[in-house]
């Protein structure tokens, strides 16, 4: 996979994951043009299209478009399954995920994606294992935060 984009029906970007090195300007250009192209597709059209020299696989879930650019030798149908798996992971994590969840917790959406895909390939094909890893990492984060707070309270009182 070369990149994955999530965007709303109004064309607002909600997540962008790039697996190929491109300058900011190029990324913006690609995003803008691709979003336009995908949004112009009618609902009955198939999920695959050729755009520039890439194969694009996209699927709409409620108000969000999930759009991936894959290489020539990649299997389009399994990419649809990858997208679906990611949506399932988000759904399990947020509990009935909706676009707002992704907007307000975009960093978590990234963390989940990074636990599922690495370098554009799936690293873990078990749903359970991905969610478990995220859970553990979250706990680690919580522990770290808890360890901090007493310190700053003491600091505020002036007793360091």
């Amino acid at each position: 996979m070369q990149f994955m984009l999530l965007f709303s029906r109004q064309g607002k970007l909600r997540l962008q994951k790039w697996y190929v090195p491109l300058s900011d300007k190029e990324k913006k250009k690609i995003t803008r043009e691709l979003v336009q192209t995908v949004l112009a597709r009618k609902p009955k059209m198939c999920s695959f299209l050729e755009w520039r020299d890439l194969k694009i696989v996209y699927k709409r879930y409620a108000s969000l478009y999930f759009c991936c650019a894959i290489e020539d030798q990649d299997n389009e149908l399994i990419t649809l399954e990858i997208i679906h798996r990611y949506v399932e992971l988000l759904d399990k994590y947020f509990g009935s995920v909706c676009e707002l969840d992704i907007i307000f917790n975009f960093e978590k959406a990234y963390f989940i994606l990074d636990e599922f895909l690495l370098g554009g390939e799936a690293q873990e094909t078990s749903k359970k294992n991905v969610l478990k890893a995220i859970e553990q990492a979250d706990l680690l984060q919580e522990d770290a935060k808890e360890a901090e707070t007493p310190r700053s309270v003491l600091e505020e009182i002036g007793l360091t």
Partner: protein, 777 residues
């Protein structure tokens, strides 16, 4: 200083903005706050600030000032910081900036961290955006982690290794020892997927690795077998199919290993047949596996029974309700139609049905596949469908479809009449979309179908009466009427009911073309010449003379020149007129270049006569010569350009001055490229006789799509004044279809007020087009 606002609060605030300007204001305010917070080196809130910055970056606002902060976060000991820091690095940094190299040390440390989640973050970042330098530095660490017993890290290390290999292929050897046990049974299947991906990458890149890993085929077959036979494993399951992601990857690796190798292919035959027959196809996931299986079967040396099985699966896909499935079926069939033509033919009717699909991508694939399947047996039926498709398809398709139809018709036409009818149909339905080269091709075809002349001209005439907007149709029709007008009025048509028409009506029609707004200059040229030709076929001489003399003062230079010359033909050279305007003989398709038929030579020859085959300016359409030079006697001969097999440089074209204006002279010299005679090598020399240097001299050339052009670097961008030097540039042109080349040099000269001059000229002379005149645009 108050604590910076939290991320969620910022998001909420920004979302309340009602206009773009309001949003920008909020963002600028917040950015300012963040910047000052960064300046104060505030450790506590750095994480929060960077997170906010990342949000604003996603909205499209610049965030580069946060790059160093990300690095500081990565270096921090807090897990939260590292998480956001690495995320920021992946979003804000890229390998083109040297800043990213500062990460290397941090990543190195984190790869050896005591917490596996930190190690995971480092591996993820490296595997996602590591540059070649970073990969070189850290490959050793990755390799170490590839051998660890911790499967969580091992799978990430495997994919990270894939990235390293992609960036620095020489390092592939380094990972070889670690791959020894990747597929072994001890690995509870958790790292199988990533291991297969790593092996695939290595095999794709190196033939040595490929032969080395061929011995894994039995193991892979075994794993695949277990997957499809084994019981229910809910966590790896998708719709009842065990770990489809792994199945697909294994099939892909098998494809690579089996390609070109008999033994491996044989070893996998059984499992492929098993997967192909046992996979549940009710959902997309099953079809994904079948799709991969089909691709593998087609690529390896499978036995024919298996291949037929694969094509049948594709045939079933074509009937699937799911568009996506139909799409991949068409794509795959397109790949296999050359090798398994007969098997694909069996599904022809389904494919043709796909032409009526609503989806653009499916229609295009179906069209390409249909053309590949046309043969002598099915030409009539297929053409019916394709013509219907041409009628109703999007404009983007029409050009390709029309070309395809012409090609197919040429190859398999069952009869001349059918061929002409088909062409007529294309011209009338998609006339404006046909390619430029089809007009001369059609003219040649019509000329050569001698027995069909009357029928053709009648049909074309009728078509003209209906519609004069489609230029290719009009051009062909005018040409035919000019040639065969006598057959038209004499009602000699055998194929269908001859129409009643007299010469006045015909002239009306042709004159109508001359004055119509819809006609392009080229079309006007055609019709004027057609009218002229009718002067020997019809009896309305006065009328024709009048028309011709009117256009002698036309604004269109091309038309004017023709009219003037025809006038001269009437006045001074009337004795030559019948010979000049005689019917065209059959054009040979495969003869060499140069004049093929000489109609007549008339006495006086003059050595100063410019042989039209050398000069780019042919002022007559459809290979009628008449290069009349006032004051010189002319040699009349009809030069034909052989429309399809022109060897542009069998004739040596002498150097010519392509442009000579405002002191800038551009000359072209031509030669044939030695190894490949189809490539024309043009060298341009630009000199400047004005007083000032011409700086920023740029030569551009545009060619039609059938051409390939290679513009090598010019010797310089400055054309020195007073002819003190010249700029040279080499252009290589490949003309695979040997049609006319149309080269339009543009020169931008800083010293020139008229910045763009356009010149049209022709490299190889082709009938039917107006003569080039340098014209300033």
């Amino acid at each position: 200083m108050p604590a910076p606002i939290r991320l969620r609060e910022l998001i909420r605030t920004i979302r309340t903005a009602r206009t773009q300007a309001e949003e920008r204001e909020m963002i600028q305010k917040e950015c300012a706050a963040i910047r000052s917070s960064f300046r104060e080196e505030d450790n506590t809130y750095r994480c929060r600030n960077v997170a906010k910055l990342l949000y604003m970056h996603m909205l499209g606002y610049p965030a580069h000032f946060g790059q160093l902060e990300c690095l500081k976060l990565i270096a921090s000991q807090k897990f939260t910081d590292k998480r956001i820091g690495y995320l920021g690095a992946m979003l804000l940094l890229d390998e083109r900036q040297d800043v990213h190299l500062l990460m290397t040390n941090c990543i190195k440390n984190d790869l050896n961290h005591s917490t596996q989640y930190v190690q995971g973050l480092a591996l993820c970042t490296l595997g996602c955006m590591g540059s070649s330098e970073m990969c070189r530095d850290l490959a050793g660490e990755v390799e170490k982690l590839l051998k660890t017993s911790n499967s969580y890290l091992r799978k990430k290390a495997a994919l990270c290794a894939v990235h390293v290999i992609r960036k620095v292929p020489e390092l592939m050897e380094m990972f070889l020892p670690a791959t020894k046990n990747l597929l072994s049974e001890k690995n509870h299947g958790e790292i199988l997927h990533t291991s297969v991906v790593l092996l695939t990458e290595m095999c794709e890149r190196s033939p040595d690795m490929l032969s080395h890993f061929r011995k894994l085929v039995p193991q892979l077959v075994r794993i695949l077998k277990n997957l499809i036979m084994s019981g229910y494993s809910p966590e790896h399951d998708v719709s009842g199919i065990s770990d489809p992601f792994l199945q697909v990857r294994i099939l892909r690796l098998l494809r690579i290993l089996g390609k070109g190798d008999d033994d491996s292919s044989e070893a996998m035959n059984d499992i492929l047949a098993q997967v192909a027959t046992n996979t549940e196809t009710s959902k997309n996931v099953g079809n994904a596996i079948l799709y991969e299986t089909v691709l593998t079967i087609m690529d390896i040396k499978s036995e024919s029974g298996l291949r037929v099985l694969a094509i049948n699966i594709l045939g079933r896909f074509l009937l699937n309700n799911d568009k996506n499935i139909r799409y991949v079926a068409l794509t795959s069939l397109l790949k296999t139609v050359q090798t398994d033509h007969n098997a694909v033919q069996r599904h022809r009717s389904t494919i043709v049905d796909c032409l009526k699909d609503l989806d653009v991508s499916i229609k295009r694939r179906a069209m390409e596949l249909s053309f590949a399947l046309v043969n002598g047996n099915n030409i009539r039926g297929m053409m019916k469908e394709l013509l219907y498709f041409l009628d109703s398809c999007d404009p983007d398709f029409k050009a390709d479809c029309a070309s395809g139809i012409f090609l197919a018709a040429e190859k398999y036409a069952p009869s001349k009449r059918w061929h002409i009818d088909t062409i007529m149909r294309v011209l009338t339905t998609a006339g404006s979309y046909v390619r430029d080269d089809s007009v001369p091709n059609l003219i040649q075809l019509i000329t050569n179908s001698v027995e069909m002349h009357a029928y053709t001209v009648q049909r074309l005439y009728k078509a003209l009466l209906d519609d004069i907007s489609q230029q290719p149709l009009v051009q062909v029709a005018s040409w035919c009427i000019g040639e065969y007008g006598d057959l038209l009025v004499s009602g000699q048509c055998e194929e269908e009911e001859p129409i009643q028409v007299n010469d006045l009506y015909v002239l009306d029609v042709l004159e109508g073309l001359l004055v119509s707004n819809l006609s392009t200059p080229v079309t006007r040229g055609y019709s004027l010449t057609a009218i002229m030709k009718l002067s020997t076929r019809f009896s309305s001489l006065n009328r024709i003379k009048k028309v011709v003399s009117i256009y002698g003062s036309s604004i269109d230079v091309e038309l004017q020149q023709r009219a003037v010359e025809y006038n001269a033909l009437f006045k001074k050279y009337d004795h030559m007129r019948p010979a000049l305007l005689e019917r065209m003989p059959i054009m040979e398709k495969t003869a060499t270049n140069g004049p093929s038929e000489t109609v007549q030579t008339n006495g006086e020859t003059d050595s100063t006569i410019l042989d039209t085959k050398h000069l780019p300016s042919i002022s007559q359409p459809a290979s009628q010569v008449g290069f009349l030079k006032h004051g010189f006697s002319i040699q009349t001969c009809a030069h034909f350009r052989h429309l399809n097999n022109i060897q542009p440089l069998n004739v040596i074209i002498p150097p010519m001055t392509a442009y000579n204006k405002n002191g800038l002279i551009i000359e072209f010299t031509f030669e044939r490229s030695n190894p490949n005679p189809n490539i024309a090598v043009i060298t341009i020399h630009a000199t400047n006789s004005t007083e000032a240097d011409m700086t920023e001299f740029v030569f551009q050339a545009a060619v039609p799509k059938t051409f390939q052009l290679q513009l090598l670097s010019p010797s310089s961008n400055v054309v020195p004044a007073f002819n003190q030097g010249s700029v040279t540039q080499v252009i290589r042109v490949l003309n695979p279809q040997k049609v006319r080349c149309y080269c339009e040099p543009r020169t931008h000269s800083a010293s020139d007020l008229q910045c763009i001059q356009a010149i049209n000229f022709y490299l190889s002379c082709v009938p039917g087009e107006s003569n080039p005149q340098p014209c300033a645009s």
